[in-house]
């Protein structure tokens, strides 16, 4: 059997604060193959953001292991994830998270600077990506001068600039208006089809999860845990018009029923 691109093996994360102990994620396992587009769906507080932060070395794990290409990447304690592992991943935040003192282009090129990737080919890559999402005219603008949709596009290509194999997206379009969001989703699918990256997409929007991904991991709260895995047998490429098809609606209702079973009263 093929080695999974990403593997969570009984991962648990416990946060200790002064007053209480919070189990953010409990005994979570999943396997994702290279080139897959999967969603993690759940209400706020279910630990879905914690999952990809553990994968990207931002937060350490309490128990269990995480593997990328069969290599264990959570080294435990305060040990930092090595740059060659981090280079395999690009993180897209819920907010654009641009640094306001840099230009749009400097923001997009930030990972290159930190990873020490220099030279014409990398510079060309920045320009290519800027062009791909229609930002080339705004290269020297400050983040405060462009719209929210533009900023989020910049956030997406910043995560791709060092050519990672995996994209981790933390509700990336949640702060955008409905129209821009739909447009960005289609652009994302386009990018995914062209580049064949492995994508983990975090969302609390059921429709978005069905439209984009091949498989949805439904999470519940208190403690954050895996409720159900739903494989979506919908044709690709996906179109916005699909959301009215009976199969799409069927999946949506199925996911809604899983989310509905989560005891909302337990959410703090």
């Amino acid at each position: 059997m093929q080695t999974p691109k990403i593997k969570f093996d009984h991962v648990t994360k416990v946060f200790e604060t002064r007053s209480q102990t919070i189990v953010a994620v409990k005994d979570y396992s999943m396997e994702i193959q290279a080139g897959e587009f999967i969603s993690i769906l759940g209400p706020s507080g279910c630990g879905k953001s914690t999952l990809i932060r553990m994968l990207d070395g931002i937060i350490d794990t309490t128990e269990g292991d995480i593997f990328i290409d069969g290599v264990k990447v959570n080294l435990g304690g305060k040990k930092k994830m090595p740059p060659e592992v981090l280079r395999k991943m690009g993180f897209i935040f819920q907010q654009p998270n641009m640094l306001p003192w840099y230009t749009v282009r400097e923001n997009v090129a930030l990972p290159l600077r930190v990873f020490g990737l220099k030279g014409k080919e990398w510079e060309d890559r920045v320009d290519e990506l800027m062009k791909m999402v229609g930002l080339e005219e705004y290269a020297n603008a400050r983040p405060s001068e462009i719209s929210g949709g533009m900023l989020q596009r910049a956030g997406v290509i910043r995560a791709m600039v060092h050519d990672p194999e995996i994209l981790l997206m933390d509700e990336p379009f949640g702060a955008l208006d409905e129209l821009t969001r739909e447009q960005m989703n289609m652009e994302l699918l386009d990018i995914w089809q062209k580049t064949n990256k492995t994508i983990i997409f975090i969302t609390h929007n059921i429709e978005e999860a069905v439209l984009l991904s091949s498989r949805v991991y439904v999470m519940g709260t208190n403690p954050g845990h895996l409720v159900e895995t739903v494989t979506l047998d919908l044709p690709r490429p996906r179109e916005l018009s699909m959301i009215t098809q009976s199969k799409f609606i069927e999946y949506r209702q199925k996911l809604e029923s899983y989310i509905g079973e989560i005891d909302l009263s337990k959410i703090k």
């Binding site: 931002i58 907010q95 998270n97 640094l99 003192w101 930030l110 600077r113 930190v114 990873f115 400050r142």
Partner: protein
């Protein structure tokens, strides 16, 4: 509209300035207020020009003490803030002393510092540094500690080193707070320097204000006070210039 706004924003303070001094002048003349009690502004400005040679060496001494002290206080304050926000143990160990320095009026230590260091420039500069670095440090700490988590996560996600994170993200994030600290420190520096000069030695504008007051030469006292204002304006201008250069992205 824009041009009009700009003209107004330049003319308005000049107009109000002239108005205030006109009222002051008129009040003195009409009520025949004695010069030792409240001199006329025209006399004060005349003295600032005519007796400039008397004031100049003192102006120079005060300006040097304030400026040198302030310029030493900036790196000291920022360095300590960087260290204590990076190492929690250091923070716990040092923050009581920083609070102590900010809250203790340094004027109360002047006699002791005089005893140890004499009346010269070194002692004045030292006092200015001690009084102003603490406020720079406090504000810089606030800025460093209030960096948004999401920016830290961004730097972590690309595996930035401590130094890269500091230079590319933490320092600019804290720029606004640091400049607030500088503004306060500039005021502290001038106030401290004048206070020291009231008490120690016979050079510097502070010593001259005391001297002229004792001889009831109020006009000359006021001239010195106005020159202190000039020093304050120089400091303010320097910080504004620095702000424009460093945080131009905020506009």
């Amino acid at each position: 509209m824009n041009v009009k706004n700009r003209v107004v924003s330049i003319l308005a303070p000049i107009a109000s300035f002239l108005l205030i001094f006109a009222i002051w002048e008129a009040a003195c003349r009409i009520n025949e207020i004695p010069a030792w009690f409240l001199p006329m502004p025209s006399e004060i400005f005349k003295s600032m020009v005519v007796d400039f040679q008397d004031y100049w060496p003192h102006l120079l001494v005060t300006l040097q003490c304030v400026l040198i002290g302030f310029l030493i206080a900036i790196p000291v304050g920022l360095l300590i803030a960087t260290l204590i926000t990076s190492f929690p143990l250091l923070n716990a160990a040092m923050s009581p002393y920083i609070t102590f320095l900010v809250t203790t009026p340094l004027i109360s230590l002047i006699p002791l510092l005089m005893l140890a260091m004499g009346y010269g420039m070194n002692m004045r500069i030292t006092t200015v540094v001690i009084q102003s670095f603490a406020v720079i440090n406090m504000n810089a700490c606030t800025g460093f500690n209030n960096v948004p988590t999401i920016r830290r996560e961004l730097m972590q996600s690309v595996g930035a080193s401590r130094f890269q994170t500091y230079r590319m993200m933490i320092l600019p994030s804290a720029a606004t707070d640091i400049i607030t600290g500088l503004r306060l420190a500039a005021i502290f520096a001038t106030t401290t320097c004048i206070s020291v000069e009231y008490n120690a030695g016979n050079t510097g504008l502070g010593s001259q204000i005391i001297k002229y007051s004792q001889y009831l030469q109020t006009t000359q006292s006021f001239a010195c006070i106005f020159y202190v204002t000039v020093i304050g304006l120089i400091m303010y201008g320097l910080i504004a210039l620095f702000q424009k250069k460093i945080v131009s992205w905020q506009e």
